[in-house]
Amino acid sequence: MSSAETETAEIEVAADEVREAVLAELKARLGDGVVDSHIRAGDDLWVRVHRDHWLDTAQAARAMGYRFFDFISAIDWLPSPFGRDMDAQEDLVVDPPAPKEPVPMTTGYAGGDTRFQVLARLYSVTHGMGITFKADLPDDDLSIATWSAVFAGANWHEREAREMFGITFVGHPNPINMYLPTDFVGHPLRKDFPLLSRRVRPWPGIVDVEPLPGGAAEEEEEES
């Protein structure tokens, strides 16, 4: 046991050094572009870059061997004004509770200053590890450079992020809707876009809540 534990500890430390080195190289290539970063030892690396350096980031990462394109998407960090669990009182259409004080917005790893963040992930087949990139988008100008010239696969992902979050990818060759009808109004993955089916009909789970496996009811049975 003890030998296995020390072994994993060693691996984690070694992997951590690898990620530190990757981060240092990214910083050297991008200069002021790297705003913040987060390393989870032996697991993953998050890098937040400035919006103006987004395209440089793709080129730098590609030059560093991160040539496999994973995905591009976005996160809306606004706390949802709607109920978040399945029997949320906020979602009641009849007799809704009084509106609460809005919860302060918090962001994830590598921080963030704005509501919308673009999220992208690249992977290196040779190094066997990936990097998650983030970039803040100011509310009054939701636009960022496209990656589709560097990674061809970004084309479709950016189309999806564009319609779902309303982010403009400057220079995108084909900015048309991926999933939604052409005349659809709104951006469904924004937090302030209500999930209409839940507004119209409450979640049926409220009526008959089944006991979870290994739950209190079963424990009682075991006792009796």
Partner: protein
Amino acid sequence: MTAVSDPQSVSALAAEATDNRVNLDFETEGMTLNMGPQHPATHGTLRIIAKLDGEQVISAEPVCGYMHRGYEKLTEVRTYPQINALINRIDWLGSFANEVPFILAAEKLMGVEAPPRAQWIRTILFEMSRIANISLFLGDFGLQLGGMTAGFYAFRDREWVLNQIESATGGRFHPNFDRIGGLKDDLPKGWIESSHLAMARLLAFCDEMEDLLIGNEIFQARTRGIGVIPAEVGLSYGLSGANLRASGVDWDLRRDSCPPGLVYDKADWKVWTHPDGDCFARTWVRLQETREAAKIVTQLLDTIPSGPVMAKVPRIIKVPEGEAYVATENPLGEMGYYVVSKGDLVPFRVKIRSASFNNISIVPWVARGAYVPDLISILGSLYFILGDIDR
């Protein structure tokens, strides 16, 4: 019109007509061919707008969204166990494999690890889903290229592995068997022996398919040198799984960055690649993968440790604040979930990175210049499941 009765003059007239046609200064008019949304080669409802010049495809643009179910939005109002039932429907042929990366991501955020027995059974069921998925591909691809027999054999032998999945989990297609911290149940009695039998049958099925499909002259003529994807292009499109390995990239998430919770390192197996990058290579790599999957299952069946299948987890699952991306090598390629949690019952945001979405985004590139029948070969060999594109 004069009636021509003499056979010789008929052939002379025909020859003259042919000559005239050949000597015409050809000006072909562009034509738009709409394939789908309901076409047997589209595994669901994918529509392809192909612009043709004669028989040649100038551009092919896939139109997705006929099956978009908004899973990324739904995950924001569903608890983690509920999401597990939901994401079974992404790639419906290898459903169990969809659950695993999501559960692993949640486990990573919670700091929970499944007991060894659960890890073993997870890996076995994961590989069984792979066999179920790819064996259907082998049959269906044959069917699309005109080889009916392959389809029947595949559907027949896929039952062997589906029966095993069903007897262990209760669901043929949507097991919903994985839980945060382990599995719903232990294996039923006699399951290990019957799985050995099923795997032996599937290894024989692979040999059969090799003779029937891969060795078939017509099949080779329809696939060799068709739809060649160079490794660099595949990487930049995010092509993954067998599609990328068929372009010579020796990369398999099971071997290279296997997330904790799966025990691929406990079995002896091989990652197959092919240098050609054409439709034939993709089929061939998948066939070898089915074989390797059967071998992994056979080896792991003999080494399943005893013990519980569920770790101690709270009754109501709240996942601590954090972000995690976990990807596994699913039958269709890399499938990953980027889970952002705020410490609630429900995740804050889940980005589902499904393999087919990237795999099919290369179609406009690879179909350009191909002939219309080759379009079927290309689509079939890239192998996508519509639920996996649209999510």
